[in-house]
């Protein structure tokens, strides 16, 4: 009897079983970490930004040869594109086209209306440009990593835009690297206005699908093709920045096609909007 009990104890205590039990304990701990949402604590955020900086530095050094070749090839392609754009510009002759005159007359009308309504001017803001160093936009938790350094003075919640529309906002900043939360991230929430009637709603990221706008009271008045822009509510994003167009409407669920395609961009703009507001 005692012999069999000893054998059983020896079986549990042999090295292989101990490692197995240790692995199970670590697995349970990982699951608890995942369920407990540890990443929302300040410690986790600091750890995340520091480790990302270090790993970026290492990968940057290792990838330098290929980056040099890549930038050389890219410079040649950019030069070719500049020549093509110059040719197109000459052909179109923008200053003589009716669209240019329409834009100028519209701006003049808006300025006159603002003066008639005695509207206070929106705060001005400048921007900094930052290079994209890593792109996780195709993952469900869509983020990108951008270069940052002390001279660029990035801060959390800085709006990020491309050449034509808004992309997201800065979610964490470190000495070398900053992370931008994209609009398609499932945790992204953006107050928007739809169409020239400025119907208000909240745009919610859907991961790899187009984001949707919810909580719009006048959803029946919205049509496919209406422009979606930022409303300025919340104080993070300035108003009237283009987000996209209404792609489809399914009852109260309005799907928006974003105007910017992050996969085509190498640099983004970061707006000093919040900084200017704090100074007023």
């Amino acid at each position: 009897m005692r012999l069999s009990r000893n054998l059983r104890v020896q079986k549990i205590l042999n090295p292989s079983s101990r490692v197995f039990i240790f692995a199970i304990i670590l697995f349970a701990f990982s699951v608890i970490l995942f369920i407990g949402r540890f990443e929302l604590t300040q410690t986790a955020k600091n750890l995340r930004s520091q480790v990302t900086s270090i790993s970026y530095s290492i990968s940057y050094i290792v990838s330098m040869p290929s980056n040099l070749i890549n930038s050389g090839i890219q410079s040649i392609i950019d030069l070719k594109e500049i020549y093509q754009q110059l040719e197109n510009y000459r052909k179109n002759q923008l200053t003589n086209s009716s669209s240019f005159q329409d834009i100028v007359s519209m701006k003049l009308k808006i300025a006159q209306y603002e003066e008639l309504l005695n509207l206070t001017a929106d705060s001005e803001y400048d921007f900094v440009t930052s290079r994209i160093v890593a792109d996780f936009s195709d993952k469900f938790i869509g983020t990108i990593l951008i270069k940052s350094n002390e001279t660029e003075k990035l801060f959390v919640d800085m709006p990020a835009t491309g050449p034509t529309g808004i992309l997201g906002r800065v979610s964490s900043v470190d000495n070398k690297i900053a992370r931008v939360l994209l609009l398609n991230n499932i945790n992204s929430r953006l107050p928007v206005s739809i169409s020239e009637n400025a119907y208000q709603g909240i745009m919610i990221g859907q991961g790899q699908k187009n984001p949707i706008v919810e909580y719009v009271r006048e959803y029946k008045n919205i049509n496919v093709g209406d422009i979606v822009s930022t409303s300025g509510k919340g104080g993070i994003f300035p108003p009237y920045l283009v987000v996209g167009q209404v792609a489809s409407i399914d009852g109260e669920r309005i799907e928006v096609e974003l105007i910017e395609d992050i996969s085509q961009l190498t640099h983004i703009r970061l707006l000093n909007y919040k900084f200017n507001q704090n100074n007023e």
Binding site: V19, F20, F27, V51
Partner: protein
């Protein structure tokens, strides 16, 4: 004691490299996290080496930090596939049969289902079905080639105690 033999160090380095490649390589159809899980599953580990568990846990946390997935997600995936491999060894499932492949495929598909339904019920949205399934199917298709490569390397150069 910590096992720091060259063979094991190389394995840790390969896993670290695969995880770090998330920073420079991003594709909808190839998920490097799942490929790392496959590597962990096909490798023949030293059963008495407890340091591997800690390495897998730390690599998982590192991967979560890089991609900004919730902490614990990747480490639980890595340890899960490691444990499945250990259970298979406990039941003496030979590595040169299709049973290991079937078990792996089954668990990968279960993982996909869990991800899909968790996102559906918690975030009230759904993943694009076929696009995301493609990355899981790609890992299943990579099983035999990777198993062959890693098995050849380990048979030739590594003596497992």
């Amino acid at each position: 004691m910590i096992d720091l033999k060259i063979g094991n160090l190389l394995i840790y380095l390969i896993l670290f490299f695969t995880t770090s490649s998330n920073l420079v390589f991003s594709s909808t159809y190839f998920d490097l996290t799942l490929i790392s899980c496959l590597i962990i599953y096909v490798l023949r580990w030293n059963e008495a080496n407890w340091f591997i568990c800690i390495i897998l846990f730390m690599l998982g946390i590192y991967n979560d930090i890089l991609i900004s997935t919730p902490f614990g997600y990747t480490s639980s995936l890595f340890l899960f596939f490691y444990l499945i491999d250990r259970v298979g060894n406990f039941f003496s499932i030979p590595s040169n049969t299709n049973i290991k492949f079937i078990i792996f495929s089954l668990f990968v598909l279960i993982l996909f289902s869990i991800n899909y339904f968790t996102i559906y019920f918690i975030y009230s949205t759904s993943m694009p079905f076929f696009v995301n399934l493609a990355s899981y199917m790609a890992v299943i298709l990579l099983y035999y080639p990777l198993n062959f490569i890693i098995g050849s390397i380990q048979n030739k150069y590594v003596r497992v105690k």
